[in-house]
């Protein structure tokens, strides 16, 4: 069939190894930063969706529908080619020059656009999972909170949301993993994350199979670590009062 000579050192040493490590670091940063920002945005969207004002609920619902029914690729290209164009020229110039913040390099324009697009995209999915969690909380809980004299927001804060989060936690972990698996799309705007670097190695020394094998392993490991970390975080948050929820 095919005679293929595996040469792992071509991928795991020298320049290729540097590229892999730096790519992994970029992927990690994309995931973490987008994850945190998307979570905050998702909470805002959830708050709007649960608000007493119809206008806010409508805006939130429209946002979610819009960002879930268009591909991340189109959104990414829209922000990079279209969104950047809308920024004032001076901002663009500032972004395009290299900066340092206390010894650490300020991220490049491409990385910023990547994080921006990933954040806006993922927030829609995260907030839907959170909303499903709220729907899973029984009506009796709202009644009990109401009867004790908690306001709408107080009920959410102390009684409903803690329960909603427990119901939503597993699906939310799935969404964070999805975010990590969506991050390679940023390679199309020249963000030098792991898959981008893997392709660099391939065009450098043509050892495609080894390169992709290593990338596969690294993504799997990253996913495993992320999943374990989030499970632990969940255990830490819900240390008491297990709702007997799977």
């Amino acid at each position: 069939m095919i005679h293929y000579h595996f040469d792992w050192s071509a991928v795991l040493s020298g320049a290729p190894l540097h590229w892999i490590v730096s790519g992994l670091w970029v992927t990690f940063n994309l995931t973490i930063w987008s994850g945190v920002l998307a979570t905050l945005l998702a909470l805002l969207l959830l708050g709007m969706r649960l608000s007493a004002y119809r206008g806010l609920r409508w805006i939130s619902a429209c946002y979610v529908t819009l960002f879930r029914n268009t591909p991340l690729a189109v959104q990414l290209l829209f922000w990079y080619f279209g969104g950047l164009q809308c920024l004032p020229g001076s901002w663009r110039d500032w972004l395009n020059t290299s900066h340092q913040l206390g010894g650490v390099h300020f991220p490049s324009t491409e990385v910023l656009v990547g994080v921006w697009a990933l954040t806006l995209f993922s927030a829609a999915f995260l907030s839907e999972e959170m909303r499903a969690g709220v729907r899973a909380v029984s009506n009796g809980q709202f009644d009990a909170a109401h009867s004790q004299g908690f306001s709408h927001w107080q009920s959410l804060r102390w009684i409903v949301l803690p329960q909603a989060l427990r119901y939503a936690w597993q699906p939310l972990i799935g969404q964070y993993l999805s975010l990590m698996k969506n991050s390679p799309l940023t390679m199309s705007i020249a963000v030098t994350e792991l898959l981008y670097q893997t392709n660099q190695i391939e065009s450098f020394n043509l050892h495609a199979i080894e390169a992709y094998a290593v990338a596969t392993l690294l993504y799997l490991l990253l996913g495993l670590l992320l999943s374990l970390a989030l499970q632990q975080l969940g255990k830490g948050m819900f240390v008491s009062g297990d709702l007997h929820v799977k």
Binding site: G140, Q141, S147, F150, Q163
Partner: protein, 248 residues
């Protein structure tokens, strides 16, 4: 203490409460009974705003309750649900101290001390750290009663508190309710437990199809019910099988 003036409520086409007029005096224990679908649950849920009303007004302690009942108004009224509705993510003690701490501004220590007192009142001090899932139905309902008392309400409302309990646990809940009644708090109880009504209540209200059809002292109501539907209801309660055979 509680007053209904020409209260009306609709659920889409259904006229659930029709021109309700009643007064509950301070310290009175009133039992509300009636067949299912009569509106008795809805009646009691309008007092603290769980159900809004469409016409008339409700006064608590002389003040008209707003349509949805403001949070401050609700804090003065304690409510006990048929399904207990304890907060599953909090322990028994935490269920009781949540409102005093977050709404009443009590410190954790003070709230805990008062909470343990209430648990003692309902006989469950040793379960303070347990979670609702670890408690039996009767225990959960007793914690729910303690929780309803946490903000020192002037009125206690009960919506079929023992209907969701296994028979052997009904007694422990009723005995807590009896001691509360003897303590002098104003109570309004929707229930089928006629023994409780006979022993403890000052007055029985019979409601059917959204109207209060009869109001009497328990002795009068159980011995000589006036309204034909009230009579039918009591007969059915006492011997359901007998009546089903008769009408078959």
């Amino acid at each position: 203490m509680i007053e209904f003036k020409n209260v009306d409520k609709h659920f889409a086409d259904l006229h659930v409460l029709q021109n309700i007029n009643l007064k509950v005096a301070k310290g009175e224990v009133v039992v509300v009974c009636g067949p299912s679908g009569s509106g008795k649950s809805t009646l009691i849920r309008t007092i603290n705003g769980l159900e809004p009303i469409n016409g008339g007004e409700i006064l608590v302690d002389g003040q008209a309750i707003s349509k949805r009942a403001r949070p401050a108004e609700r804090q003065k009224i304690g409510f006990v649900f048929q399904q207990f509705n304890l907060y599953p993510h909090l322990s028994a003690l935490q269920n009781i101290t949540l409102a005093p701490r977050r709404l009443g501004g009590l410190s954790e220590d003070k709230a805990n001390a008062e909470g343990l007192d209430l648990l003692a009142q309902v006989g469950l001090v040793e379960k303070s750290r347990h979670y609702p899932a670890q408690l039996s139905g009767g225990q959960q309902q007793r914690v729910a009663i303690a929780r309803a008392l946490a903000m020192k309400p002037r009125i206690l409302l009960f919506d079929e508190p023992t209907s969701a309990l296994d028979p052997e646990m009904i007694g422990e809940v009723l005995s807590v309710m009896k001691s509360l009644a003897h303590g002098g708090i104003t109570m309004m109880v929707v229930t089928h437990e006629m023994g409780f009504a006979r022993e403890v209540s000052d007055r029985v209200l019979f409601i059917d199809q959204g109207r209060i059809l009869e109001t009497a002292t328990p002795q009068a109501f159980f011995k000589h019910p006036v309204h034909p539907r009230a009579r039918q209801f009591l007969q059915q309660l006492q011997s359901p099988l007998h009546l089903a055979e008769e009408s078959a």
